[in-house]
C-alpha cells in the first residue's frame, strides 16, 4: 500500500510550478460478476509522461485501459481528466456527447490489432482525414495536406495515401493507426500492446517512432504491454499488475533493475536473452 500512497501524492515540482496532473485514476475497481477485473488502481499522469502497465495476460491491464477511456464503467472509483480549459473533471459526470468529443479530439487509442482502430476499406488518407472531419474540418485541400504530412511523419510513403489499409503490411497499418490518432493533436494516448504481433525489426522501427513522437509532442501515454523491453524503451514509469492489483510502481529503470516484489522479480527473471 505504501507504493500507492507515493504514486497518488501530488508533487509540486519547482521546474513546473503549480502544474496539475492530466489524468488521475482514483481507486479504480471493476468486477466481472464475482471475478475481479482490476482492483483499487490509483495513479497520476502528468503531461509528457509515459507510463507502462506491465503484467501477464489476465492481470487486468486491458480492463484498466477500458476504464480509463470510459469504454467500460468502473464498479467503483473514478477517472479525472484535465480539460483544455484547465478544469479537471470527473469523466463519469460528463454526458455521452462530451465524452465522445473528448475521445475524438483530445485522446488517442492505439489498439493491438490495427483493424480495430482503422477503417480497412477506405483509403489511408481518408482514415486520417476522417478524424479531422469529425471535429469540423471541411476544407478538402487542408485535410489532405495535413493527412499527407502525418503519413510522412509515421514514415508512410506519400504514394500510398490513396491505397486502402487492407493492402498495407502489419507494421504500416500500425503506423497508419498512430497517424489517425495523432492528427487531432491529442494530449493523451492509450496504447494496448502496440507492438504485439509484429516482427522484431518492424517492432524496433515502431518503438523508435513512438518514442520520438511522444517526446516531440510531449504526449501523455499509458501503454499496456507484457513486453518489458518495450516498457524499458518507451516509458518513464512502470506499474506492475498481477491478478487485477498493482503490486509495484516506480521509475522504469528502478522497477526493471532493482525489482522488489516477488512477482516483478519473476517477470524480470523470465526475460529470454537475445
Amino acid at each position: 500500500m505504501t507504493v500507492m500512497t507515493q504514486m497518488s501524492t501530488t508533487i509540486n515540482m519547482p521546474e513546473m510550478p503549480g502544474e496539475e496532473p492530466l489524468l488521475i485514476a482514483q481507486g479504480l475497481t471493476r468486477w466481472y460478476g464475482r471475478r475481479i477485473g482490476c482492483r483499487n488502481v490509483s495513479f497520476d499522469l502528468y503531461e509528457g509522461e509515459v507510463m507502462a502497465v506491465v503484467g501477464e495476460s489476465g492481470s487486468g491491464k486491458t480492463t484498466l485501459l477500458n476504464l480509463l477511456s470510459s469504454q467500460m464503467e468502473p464498479s467503483s472509483g473514478q477517472v479525472l481528466y484535465r480539460m483544455r480549459d484547465g478544469v479537471t473533471r470527473d469523466l463519469a459526470r460528463m454526458d455521452e456527447a462530451e465524452r465522445r468529443l473528448l475521445a475524438r479530439t483530445d485522446w488517442g487509442f492505439v489498439h493491438q490489432d490495427p483493424a480495430m482502430g482503422l477503417r480497412m476499406r477506405i483509403s489511408a488518407g481518408a482514415n486520417v482525414g476522417e478524424r479531422l472531419m469529425a471535429i469540423g474540418w471541411r476544407h478538402y485541400g487542408r485535410i489532405r495536406d495535413t493527412g499527407t504530412n502525418w503519413l510522412h511523419q509515421v514514415e508512410i510513403d506519400a504514394s500510398r495515401i490513396d491505397d486502402i489499409p487492407m493492402t498495407y503490411s502489419g507494421g504500416m497499418r500500425q503506423r497508419l493507426q498512430i497517424a489517425r490518432n495523432l492528427v487531432t493533436q491529442p494530449r493523451l494516448i492509450l496504447m494496448d500492446e502496440p507492438t504485439g504481433g509484429l516482427d522484431v525489426s518492424v517492432q524496433a522501427r515502431l518503438l523508435d517512432l513512438l518514442r520520438g513522437l511522444a517526446a516531440d509532442l510531449a504526449l501523455s501515454v499509458v501503454v499496456v504491454t507484457h513486453d518489458l523491453a518495450v516498457a524499458r524503451l518507451l516509458s518513464h514509469r512502470i506499474m506492475v499488475m498481477k491478478e487485477g492489483e498493482v503490486v509495484e510502481t516506480g521509475l522504469t529503470d528502478q522497477v526493471l533493475d532493482d525489482p522488489r516484489e516477488p512477482y516483478t522479480q519473476l517477470l524480470v527473471a523470465s526475460i529470454l536473452p537475445p
Partner: protein, 232 residues
C-alpha cells in the same frame, strides 16, 4: 565550494524472492560528500557494491536506509525518497550517469544518441547535433560512424559514445562507472582530460575507476567501500 551531493548512512540489501527470500546485504552506513568541482573515487574489491552505490545515487536502485541528498539551485532533494517524477526532472537538470554499457535504441544514429539528452531544453536540434559531433570527434569516433546506430560498434567505441552522451549536458553532478575500462591508452588520456575539464567547470563527480593512473589524475578523495561492507 558548496556541497553538491551527500550520502548519509546509506544501506542496501537485495532480497531474492526467487531464491526463497534470500537476503544479500551489500553495504551499510555509507557516508561521504562531494563538493562542486571535486571528484570522489569509490574503491574496494569487485562485488563490494561500487556500482550499486552509483545506481542508488541515480535512483536506478532503491535505497533501503539512509539519505542521498542532492543540492541544486538552493533545493535539497533526498533521492532515497524522491517520487519518480521529481527524479526524472533531476536527471534532466542535475545529475548524469555514464554506465559501463551503452543501451542503444535500435535505428537511432550515434550523433542523435548523444544529442538526445539535450533536446527539448530549448536548444535547436542542429546546434545540439553539431556539438554532439564535435565531442564524438574529440573522442576519436570516425566521421563515417557518426550517423550509424552504435549497436554494431566495438566495445571501446560504444563506451566512448556512452561517455559523449553523458558528458554533453553540463550537469552539476556526474556519476561515472568505469569510464575508461575498455579504452586504449590514447583514448583513456582523452577521457581523463574531459573529466578534469568537467571538474574545472564545477561538476561534482563520483567515479568508479580501476586504473590507478586515471584515479591519481582525477581523484580529490577516495572512499573505500570495504569499510562499509554489510555483515552477511
Amino acid at each position: 565550494m558548496p556541497i553538491a551531493l551527500e550520502l548519509i548512512a546509506v544501506s542496501k540489501t537485495f532480497t531474492m524472492h526467487l531464491q526463497g527470500g534470500l537476503r544479500l546485504p551489500v553495504i551499510a552506513g555509507v557516508t561521504f560528500s562531494v563538493r562542486a568541482g571535486e571528484c570522489v573515487v569509490l574503491t574496494g574489491r569487485s562485488g563490494v557494491g561500487k556500482s550499486s552505490v552509483l545506481k542508488m545515487i541515480f535512483g536506478s536502485y532503491r535505497c533501503d536506509a539512509g539519505q542521498i541528498l542532492l543540492y541544486n539551485d538552493g533545493q535539497r532533494t533526498d533521492v532515497a525518497n524522491a517520487p519518480p517524477r521529481r527524479m526524472l526532472a533531476l536527471r534532466r537538470s542535475t545529475i548524469g550517469y555514464v554506465s559501463q554499457f551503452l543501451r542503444a535504441v535500435p535505428r537511432v544514429g550515434t550523433i542523435d544518441v548523444v544529442a538526445e539528452p539535450l533536446l527539448g531544453n530549448g536548444a535547436s536540434r542542429e546546434e545540439v547535433r553539431s556539438r554532439a559531433g564535435d565531442l564524438l570527434r574529440r573522442l576519436n569516433i570516425p566521421e563515417s560512424l557518426l550517423n550509424l546506430p552504435p549497436a554494431t560498434f566495438s566495445g571501446g567505441e560504444q563506451q566512448r559514445v556512452n561517455i559523449a552522451r553523458g558528458f554533453l549536458p553540463q550537469l552539476p553532478v556526474l556519476l561515472l562507472d568505469e569510464p575508461t575500462a575498455s579504452l586504449d591508452a590514447a583514448n583513456c588520456a582523452i577521457v581523463t582530460s574531459l573529466i578534469v575539464e568537467k571538474k574545472k567547470r564545477g561538476t561534482a563527480i563520483v567515479a568508479v575507476v580501476h586504473d590507478a593512473s586515471v584515479r591519481d589524475r582525477i581523484a580529490d578523495s577516495v572512499v573505500d567501500l570495504t569499510n562499509f561492507a554489510a555483515a552477511a
